[in-house]
Amino acid sequence: MLGNEAVARGAYEGGVRVVSSYPGTPSTEITEEIAKYDEVYSEWAPNEKVAAEVAIGAATMGARSLTCMKHVGFNVAADPIFTVSYIGVNAGMVIAVADDPGMHSSQNEQDSRHYAKASKIPMLEPADSRECKEYTKKAFELSERFDTPFIIRLSTRISHSQSLVSLEERNDLGVREYVKNPGKNVMMPAMAKKRHIDVEKRTLALQEFAEECEFNTVEDNHSKIGVITDGIAYQYAKEALGNQVNYLKLGMVYPMPKKLIQDFAANLETVYVIEELDPVIEEHCRVIGIPVVGKEKFSLIGEYTAAQIKEVVLGIPAPFKYQVEENVPIRPPVMCPGCPHRATYYVLKKLGLTVSGDIGCYTLGALAPLNSVDTCVCMGASVSAALGMEKARGKEFSKKLVSVIGDSTFIHSGITGLIDIVYNKGNNTVIILDNSITGMTGHQDNPTTGKTIKGEPTKAVDLEKLAHAVGIDRVRICDPFDLEAFEKVVREETEADEPSVIIAQRPCALLKSVNYGAPVIINQDKCKKCKMCMKIGCPAIFINEEGNITIDHSLCNGCGLCMRMCKFDAIEKVGK
């Protein structure tokens, strides 16, 4: 079972009743799995802040609740989470956050363990799928016992690794009684001052609990070397060092125990702290007076390997490796064949526009050969940053500037930026890349798709009306595959003396409903080798060994965008 599936299973068995999340790699599958259980209410929220608030509301009213997000999603949700720390819970509440060391699919590499300390919310960290289930299930119980939400910290290699899990029955405790209690549930200064005292008392109690918590385990192999570790780093350490060292595996990473660590270190010659990303455990050890070897030997950056650990701790160099002498060309990710964004970026590049980008598949528009996107910060920033760009460089600059943002990302946090543009008299043009789905994370429905997480029909946000409602008078809808018309629309809207929204509508090529039919072929008799078709950067179009431009039929999905590029009608459909 995938780590994420195991978290879902743990929540299910632990009696979760309400789950609200926003998708984000590597956390997405937790909520997708939960959606398969009919006993549990689940939803995709517009963003992580909303999701956390839904979970808080449910827990306050007595239902065990869960919210899941990726590490950067926690930034969005941090506001309610820092204060629910003061409020505590009625029924148990769990926050699952998945970090991405190595940045497989993220814009930064932040370490979520800092959030536990900063918000004073206890954090558990499983090291395989079995623990994912066990810790999540237990977290609901502990949440109620200590009157605080619990955070489950995951990472890519935990979330997206599969290992064996045994299943148990669901323990549904029903909905707890709700008693009105403003002193606890209404956080304004007078109440919050009192609650802060309770939070500090709770932290002391949790520190005591950490000393005996079953998830903090010592493995004594009668060695003079000790390793303190957590999460996936434990697995790498075990792989590298086997039974040659003693281990203290911290399954509870906030708050951390004091005496347990001191006792563990007592008779050891050297203690290593092996943790990916920041020196969180290491700094704790130093504060409690334990000299450890940590980041002076291990990296702050990326994922660890067992070979590295073996070399540092045991001095054994990495094993034999076959060497490839030649330069192997990199293979960066690309937009899929048939992707609607390819057409959009072709036009933006042709017009020489500055492009304020956002988070999604379409960030790939920054790469060759489209090289279109200038900036990408976080969800929603394409819109608000573009207003800042205009304020910095003036209205004329803004006429050569566009924002690009996906439909789901626009709802997540682009709409607030658009309101800022209207309110503060910006002249920006915002292109909403409406591909009818949340693409990057693997096709989740969102408020614009008209379907819930369970596939039930619901009201869809009408992006056109929404833009009008916030005060955008110029709203255009256009299919980017209609290259000429789309170019004309972009030209007109960027040149206009008022803000505008262009909704570039064409569905994601990977949607089941999209069927472009047969692939296309290049008629070599007609081909002039002008390479116009290659300007769109479709991975299916390449130059073969004979120097002919060719289409790979194992990749081509027949979208026909290249046919529109060809001035010599040399690209033809092979069948229907």
């Binding site: 699919s105 599969q162 792989e239 076959y322 192997v328 060309p329 598949c361 390449f542």
Partner: protein
Amino acid sequence: MKVMIVGVGGQGTLLASRVLGAVAMDEGYDVKMSEVHGMAQRGGSVVTYVIYGDQVHSPVIEKGEADVIVSFEELEAYRWVSYLKKGGKLIVNTQKIDPMPVITGEAKYPSNIIEKIKAMGIDVTAVDALSIATEAGNQKSVNIVLMGIMAKHSGIDCDKWIQAVRRTVKPQFVDVNLKAFQMGYGLA
């Protein structure tokens, strides 16, 4: 046993690793698998790990460790071959897919990759799995053709593999995939 399945995003490496994982689990092994999702999946170089044995710790495989690498594409075989342990085996589909730097002309696709890998002293089984899959009825079953070849070298009973394929692929594709599996198995 440490197996790496490498290829280009969209080629079906994930499904192949799930078939292998299911087989290893049925055999009673401790199994760990590591996958890639999200941005990494979009037509880029992808790798999944399947590790099984009495007790498995790390879900990833490092350089010089893999017993077998199954590559869905030649350049990807070349990229990941340093992960093979000495005496390890490479199963490679002879398909070539140009990466974007080659398409844009910034880089060249290396020539004669399979010969070069063989010259390193590596045991290579190279097959045109795309043609076989097409013959079986669906070019998307390249992954199962390659699992057929893997099966032959796995020391695990063929019937167990067939059961795992049945369970893992979508119901409407069971027949074509079983044919693809048999064709791959027969080849090796």
